[in-house]
Amino acid sequence: MTFVLPIGPQHPALKEPEHFRVEVKGEEVVDVDVRLGYVHRGIERELARRSFARGLFLSQRVCGICTTHHGLCYCQAVEQLAGVEVPERAEYARTIMAELERIQSHLLWTGVAAHEIGFDTLFMLLWRDRELVMDLRELISGNRVHPSMETLGGVRWDIRPEHELKVERSLKKLEAEVKRYIDLFTSDRTILARCEGVGVLRRQDALELCAVGPTARGSGVPFDVRRDDPYAAYGELEFEVVTEEGQDVLARALVRLREIMESIEIIREAIEAMPKGALRARFPPEVPDGEAVARVEAPRGELLYYVMARGGDKPERVRIRTPTYANLASLKPMLVGSTIADVPIVLASIDPCFSCTDRITVVDVETGASKVVSKLELRRRTS
């Protein structure tokens, strides 16, 4: 079956940030190729042209959903270079903000996934609950989306006792709701029909292709930077690394939902254990030469920043490796053998950071005809 789907002037595909070329034989996917670059903004080069302090704001804007993790990772790398030790209270505050971000990111993802499989009610309810977290972020930092709490040397604001009360109240509500969502995902027939056994990534492939985050953990690979290479206050907190053995879309969804529960516990622990003290350490005006590597466990997986300083007030080189980048190679084994109908939800299951308007080319290997389909179109056509 060939698909005659050109990109027209009004095609949403024109704004898409990535392009997957899917080869099909009839309904079955035979091969996948990824083409990136649509939102390539040259950030690595830009960071080398900005001072370390200004670079923080740019790094926070690499992504709107995992902004805190980008900022945090950047700060950690530069703090390593400068030999600055962040005060303990700030480390705990950073941890709390990072976990709040994880919760809202996972809720966002689950809502999007529900929307992908046509379950709009679930999407609305999930995003309603996400508002609880957004309100907390606004309460603490003044911003819903870019809290920008972290700064070189510490954090900018304090988490005050009155915040703690509100945080606990919201966490209680979230806990109850997420428990229901976990039940739903494990029992609802239509969800299971669309997610179980779909987009399988074998453990071996996840390891070979260096997958990260819930994508890897859904295939039984217990890799979590918070546990393996602790940063902020994670070294002092007790938590589980959530893995699933299902290896499919459902497993990755359950990893994320269960991680929300873990994050709730981590926040509670962190609030309990948070010591009094300074919020930030003095940051020297000059950063000495050297190189540093910082890693954090962003909601989507391992995020790595490599920063090299070589004189001056600007970095010589900043290298950012985002978790989605690491997971793209894993899409191929997930998609090969699937049907076209499953492509949207499988793509969504790695929680790509450019979810709205992906573009897919479908190539029929028999006729060689190739057409371009937007993800929106694919979703519609394949549901």
Partner: protein, 138 residues
Amino acid sequence: MRAEEILELLRDYIVEAKSVGERRIFATTDAAKYRQALRALKDRGFVHLSTITGVDLGDRMEVIYHVDCGGIVLNLKLPLPRESPSLRTVTDIFPGAVLYERDLMEMLGVRVEYHPDPRRLFLPDDWPANKYPLRKEE
């Protein structure tokens, strides 16, 4: 495994090394031995290559393989001459390197030989052929 043990493992393949803190190692290798170093790591069970970074240092290029060794980040640096820098792919050792090497090729102009799929990754199709965005301008 601790940092000292990793350095011991790689003793024959690296020229110099430096530990920073407990969980960061910066080691330099050379074109003859880098693959053996990576192979030794993989055989030891360190299968996670976090990423590959390319840096234009002015007088030379540097390709850094960042390997996760059970929580320790080993940064294996491979210096390359600035004129026509080239090296061999490591996708046979770390299949997950496939995209990072493409990135290296298009951003810094490092030729990666035997790469299974040496196409552009991020740059638009009509980007001029010999311009490498992360190279320093003369």
